[in-house]
Amino acid sequence: MTSHPLRAALAVMLALCAWPALARAHGLAGKRFFPSTLTIDDPFVADELSLPTFLHIKQPGDSEAPAGQFTNISGEFSKRIFPDFGITLGGEWNLLDPAPNNQTESGFGNLEVTLKYQFFTNTAHETILSAAFGWEAGGTGRQKAGAESFDIFRPAILFGKGMGDLPEALAWLKPFAVTGIVEGVLPSRSGNKKLTTNDDGDLEVEIEKNPNVFHWGFAVMYSLPYLQSFVRDVGLPVIIKSLIPLVEIDINNPLDRGFAGKTTGTVNPGIIWAGKYFQIGLEAVVPINERTGKNVGIRGQLHFFLDDLFPNTLGRPLFGGR
């Protein structure tokens, strides 16, 4: 009995720390857990680490570059500064076989920094909206390995919507969710001058144009964890009930500088296994047209939930509580 005041004080402190955490961590909005998707950016702000993300695909050739194998290994570290505002640092390593110079080239890509603000969360309707601004720092990577020499800015709006608010008559559809992005990809330089030597040995100046691009994409997923926990326990085995099959659509629409209408994109069917501390994802990368490619690639990702791995250190916002 003598410990009651202390316990009560601890309980109040715990409550003040704990309740604001709802829907602000780990991709949660009410009952909905949004996994981290492999291809398009996530709409939520969280403490997480994607390392590595692996991509391998055969790219088509054009007038400036031969067809070849493209391998990309990347990582992203996301940290909440405030509960709804975070920063993401991204890096990548590329292998081009062959590169435009007909040699095999490898090296780091440009560093990327993204700020994201999750400005709307509705738990009852499992809805998230956020705004982001990304900056690819030109010249920080190796140009022969595909890194651009100029900066690229990426203002974006992202969304997530779970279907848990559907009527009971449509209960089997409640595990569906969709996340998506609309984004501008804005190069800081409209074109690059490139010196080449023609067949007569004379120097020529070519201008490689860098178009502004409208980038958009979405992911449609069916959450077996949601089905088991909130709709119907259908007796799935442990390994199966943690799976989230999904399809991601990723489209780039160049807008100007001679590239207008030359759309590229991929359809990415795959599956995510979401565990307690990490998730593993695997997707096929299917080009939507010959301009994007003719061969199916593969993308995989290992993704860590830092808020669960390190709840008292890396896994909490720098300011503003949990």
Binding site: A11, A25, L28, K31, V231, D308, P311, N312
Partner: protein, 122 residues
Amino acid sequence: MTGLRAMVALATLLLLGSTASGHAFLDRAEPRVGSTVRTAPAQVRVWFTERLEPAFSTLEVVNERGERVDTGPAQVDEASPATLQVSLKPIEPGTYRVKWRVLSVDTHVTEGDFTFRVAGGP
């Protein structure tokens, strides 16, 4: 090598300085989520994936009119600290909704609900 040692030291510090613990998600329930039972249950038990903080974990059961049919408050099972249970009043055939909101011991909050049906009604 100095950089590598510093990274290893930082990783060790972080690992030792915090105890990993996940969000408490529903693992299973009795009656089962979305199930139909022939006999009215005397209690509802929900198993979570993490240990719970009893003072901030709630479990309610309501009928189709939204009226509470549990005798509350919910209790965390001392022998199984990831299990939350609540006794029910005698209930008739119909559909019941179980609503939970729990705090895991690492202070992450999760919430959810599900239904079960007692057969025999109209």
